[in-house]
Symmetry: C2
Subunit: 644 residues, 2 copies
């Protein structure tokens, strides 16, 4: 076949066809990927099948020439450092001003190259004259609308598209990150993580580390509060005030760090130039910003979908979740009645039986969360958001509402309606411990074991492991990456336990701290060895999660003052006051703490001064350039007038 | 004298010397104002004394040539509309693309010309070799630091610098604004106001109108609530919920309108290019943004000043204000005891005597506010803020805290500690009415009468009024403009009464509405006929006032639910509940309303979509220009390399 002009390139991205894909379709895809840009807007990439017999021609390796990659970098406005270390959008004509431009092969990061290829794969379309998918005559093509990847996905011909892991880079990275003992006493090198996994993932790890560090003072104080003898009221209210101030400062400092990272990574102005998601569909129109044709889906349709479908479905899910909780609750009461604690003989047995319902409920919550995540993803897909960031924010909001109810309803009910702190603590412990164990198993250990088994199957009967190609191994043994939601949800849930209920159970912060020290390493391991490599995705903050954590902090003020006020020992402390006065004191305290929180978040500017100056400098330069440009245009116009 | 090269220009700005200024100093000032820019950075303006004998050579008229003004417009980055109605920074070389560029004399607005001249007057400095002020050998000059205007102000040689009113423009503007009856049924033409007075003043009027319109539904509902028979609880809680939702939407819609205006006026990106205040002092350093030399005052010094001087002084003022309130309160109690209401004979007399202390207190508040304003201004001057916006925000915050205590402490104390609604209503009425009457007198009617008297003195013994020149009249009969603070404070105070206490006195919204309809016209009159014309000042929103109003709205939720809960009739309505349960219900309701407020402000985007698109378009174009600029630079470099 004359299709494969260049066999000997370094593959960067893998396209894994399903075994049902007809050869004709595969050839068509390859043709479009190889076609030059002047041939009906082809992708101009390099493509070959993996040579491993295991691949059965299902595994397509994709790369690109250096020129193609540099062009793509310019098009995607990738920012690279100048020799003076300031970031600038990459321009081929300006290449000699950039750092490392002497060694062009390594000028772009591997993750950047992969994103450039990914962008092409997502956007390559059938040729104008094609009306059905070759090999599948029944599947018709909507001209100007369908992408090749979209068609393949509709037909279930694609199992996954993923960038290849870089074993050497991982080796270098994992040593400092989680493989050595001294990694426990060192901060992660977040820039290395960003360079390998992209900003989206790097933000997750930066946040997890920042949050874990913020847990240290709370843990120490929580520990002291638990063991210190003395008035419960003074101890707990001190702890509560400290927590309000501490977590308010934490959120603000995170915003500052987050903005600083966005500046260092050059992604702070990315929202202006963010390209639409490949799955976004709509009619072609001229963009009011860039004046280029782009897809537009009417806003009112999306709003209609939200109000008519999304919100009702979410409501139903919430109702179901509440129903399950109260079902569990009835069982718990019945169990408690059946196994009273007063008979000393059956005490252990009774205690065990009494924990069964709460353990069962905790176990039930986890699959419910997973199912709901699928529903939320489906709904958000259906809403057809234009930008990835908008998509993720909408998904996050849905997850937030549901997880909030699902994870905390039990604790709220026990704490505030039944005023049964024993149950709250018991529930907290079972939720935290089960969660930690269960998640480690489902997310990390399980898949890792599965990966080993699969790999053994692949290499069975072969003398050398090296025989199976990397691409095949990664396609068949690793799990495909589906976003950082799950990881954020885990921290979110934990932060909820820590923030909302620390007044009744100060030890929880220590549990969280210990858990997170391992969580961070386990997550790092998961990203390196269990997941397929994710395409680097640009980001300038953690998205809606910021608001989710902020809302939790506000609610925490309410719950903590309420929990303190409801302690009998505290009521005793204020025994000279009437009920109404007592109530008033705590409501006033709560309002003062809420005001304090807002004052703190108002007083700390969320962008560090040096970042603000640098941004303004860039803006100033752009404006100056625009003026120069206009002056030049005028000059040209005058010259051309004189000529005529 | 050869100084006056050009007598026959249209004066735009007046510099009013005090009568003590030595002629030598005046001549020096004139020389520096006339000096060309290449002569030690002179101002290159046109200058002559007013010819009216009344002026005694104290009144200097200042103008500029057209070329000078156009250059200044380019330097100040004034935005003007292109022929296609999009705003662009003015560039002389690009002038033929701008609207109205055929008629160059009227191309710039008068207010723009005045600002250009004002900028020069503020920034012109003594020559390098001058070490003392001519005419005042004792006053030495700090080279590179003192401006001429600063020196004159130090020596009290300047009474005022102000732009001349434009009688014809005022005639055209005032008809639609406040002089005709049909102006009552029409919105103001905010763009006309902006073109004449600048954005700062225009924002005030836009906000006042927007707020007044927002009062209409509240007034109607308040009226219905007052007259409708039926359960007090349902009525008041309905009214309260409506108010929370309504004012939350109001604040968000105002932000939207405010951003839209900022876009239409091209001031949305002004903060990047804002020039330092002329009163700002500091050492010359290179700006990290523009790379031009600029004055820098260390941040830590300002912070130190704030913590060591500003905050303690403000605290003392607040303490004094509280002390005066409780003094008044003791007198009120004594009066109430001396004049009991039960003896029917002295009832009217007693009622009258009982209102005396509250009336006296209300009258005392007004001068206290004025004195405090002077203190706050002094402190903010002392803090040496770099930008006018920073200066104003700091001043506003100080005023906000003090006015909040001063205006509302009495109402809070009566409402929440004494639970005496009769007193609250009485205090509200006297505060609102006295305020309205007193302010109209001190701010509008009084000065206007004074102006007439002064004008009569000027024209006394002269057959024709026209003999006295405009400049002399405006300098001697009009009050010098000192910012919009006073006007905002008036609305702020009124909004406080309306928002915080509407639950006990729904009529207050109607009072406010009626007052504001007249207030707007009276203020407009004041700006046109009582004040000297202000220099147009750029602004992109109402500054810190936005936060002040937002904070009031939040506090209003707390006060209104509390006021409702404290009504005996409402308690009766919930008579089946215990005190604790009753309390809990209202605290829960309050929290839900607070959450609702935040949800509304989160859900409504504060920038309208079309403005966001337009901004992004401009940003995109600037970035594109920067890329082009870089490509061009590279090309030039390559060419020059080839040459060598």
């Amino acid at each position: 076949m004359t299709l494969y002009e260049n066999f000997d390139f370094k593959p960067l991205v893998v396209l894994h066809f399903s075994s049902t894909t007809p050869d004709e379709t595969k050839n068509w895809v390859i043709k479009r990927l190889i076609a030059r840009q002047d041939e009906d807007d082809g992708a101009d990439l390099l493509v070959r099948y993996d040579t491993d017999p295991e691949s059965h021609n299902d595994i397509l390796l994709i790369g690109a020439t250096l020129d193609r990659l540099l062009l793509g970098a310019e098009e995607l406005r990738i920012k690279k450092p100048y020799k003076n270390d300031t970031l600038h959008e990459f321009l081929i004509s300006d290449i000699h001003n950039f750092k490392n431009s002497e060694n062009l092969d390594n000028f772009l990061l591997k993750s950047e190259k992969q994103v450039i290829i990914w962008d092409e794969i997502q956007n390559v379309r059938p040729m104008q004259h094609e009306h059905t998918v070759p090999g599948v005559p029944t599947k018709s093509i909507t001209p100007n609308n369908d992408t090749i990847l979209g068609l393949l996905r509709d037909l279930d011909f694609v199992i996954s598209v993923f960038p290849l892991h870089d074993k050497e880079a991982i080796k270098l990275m994992e040593h400092d990150w989680f493989m050595s003992t001294h990694s426990f006493f060192k901060s992660q090198d977040i820039h290395k993580i960003r360079n390998y996994f992209g900003e989206n993932v790097a933000y997750y790890f930066a946040f997890l580390e920042f949050y874990t560090k913020a847990l240290i003072p709370t843990s120490i104080l929580g520990f002291l509060v638990s063991i210190w003898p003395g008035s419960e009221f003074l101890k707990y209210s001190l702890f509560c005030i400290f927590n309000v101030i501490w977590w308010s400062i934490f959120m603000e400092q995170w915003k500052r760090l987050s903005n600083k990272l966005a500046y260092q990574w050059g992604s702070y102005d990315f929202k202006v130039f963010e390209r639409p998601r490949s799955l976004y569909y709509g009619d072609l129109q001229l963009s009011p910003i860039t004046n280029q044709p782009e897809r537009v889906y009417p806003r009112w349709k999306r709003i209609l979908k939200k109000y008519l479908v999304t919100y009702p479905v979410v409501m139903c899910c919430l109702a179901l979740s509440l129903w399950i909780y109260f079902g569990y609750y009835r069982i718990q009461i019945k169990t408690n009645n059946n196994y009273p604690l007063d008979s000393s003989l059956f005490s252990i047995h009774a205690k065990l039986m009494r924990t069964m319902p709460s353990a069962g409920y905790s176990l039930l919550i986890i699959p419910m969360n997973l199912i709901y995540k699928k529903i939320a993803t489906y709904l958000t897909d259906y809403e057809n958001h234009r930008l990835q960031t908008g998509y993720e924010n909408n998904l996050t909001s849905k997850l937030f509402v549901f997880y909030f109810i699902n994870c905390f309803i039990g604790l709220f009910y026990e704490g505030f309606f039944n005023v049964n702190y024993g149950n709250v603590v018991q529930l907290l412990i079972s939720l935290v411990i089960l969660n930690a164990i269960f998640l480690k198993f489902t997310e990390q250990i399980g898949p890792y074991v599965l990966k080993r088994i699969k790999r053994n199957q692949l290499t069975e009967g072969k003398p050398q492991i090296g025989q199976v190609s990397d691409a095949v191994k990664q396609a068949k043994t690793l799990i495909s990456f589906d976003g950082t939601y799950g990881d954020y949800l885990t921290i979110f849930e934990q932060y909820g336990y820590v923030a909302l209920f620390s007044a009744v159970f100060p030890w929880i912060a220590i549990c969280a701290l210990i858990n997170n020290i391992f969580e961070l390493r386990a997550d790092a391991f998961k990203y390196c060895h269990v997941y397929q490599r994710p395409f680097a995705q640009r980001a300038w903050n953690i998205g809606s999660w910021r608001y989710a954590f902020d809302i939790l902090s506000s609610i925490a003020i309410v719950t903590n003052t309420a929990l303190i006020a409801m302690q009998p020992s505290v009521r005793e402390y204020f025994s000279s006051y009437t009920d109404a006065e007592y109530f008033l004191i705590f409501v006033a305290a709560e309002h003062i703490l809420l005001a304090l929180k807002f004052a703190i978040s108002f007083a700390i500017p969320s962008t560090p001064a040096e970042v603000q100056i640098a941004k303004n400098k860039h803006l100033y330069e752009s404006y100056q350039a625009l003026r120069l440009e206009r002056e030049r245009r005028t000059l040209k116009a005058q010259v051309s007038i004189k000529k005529h």
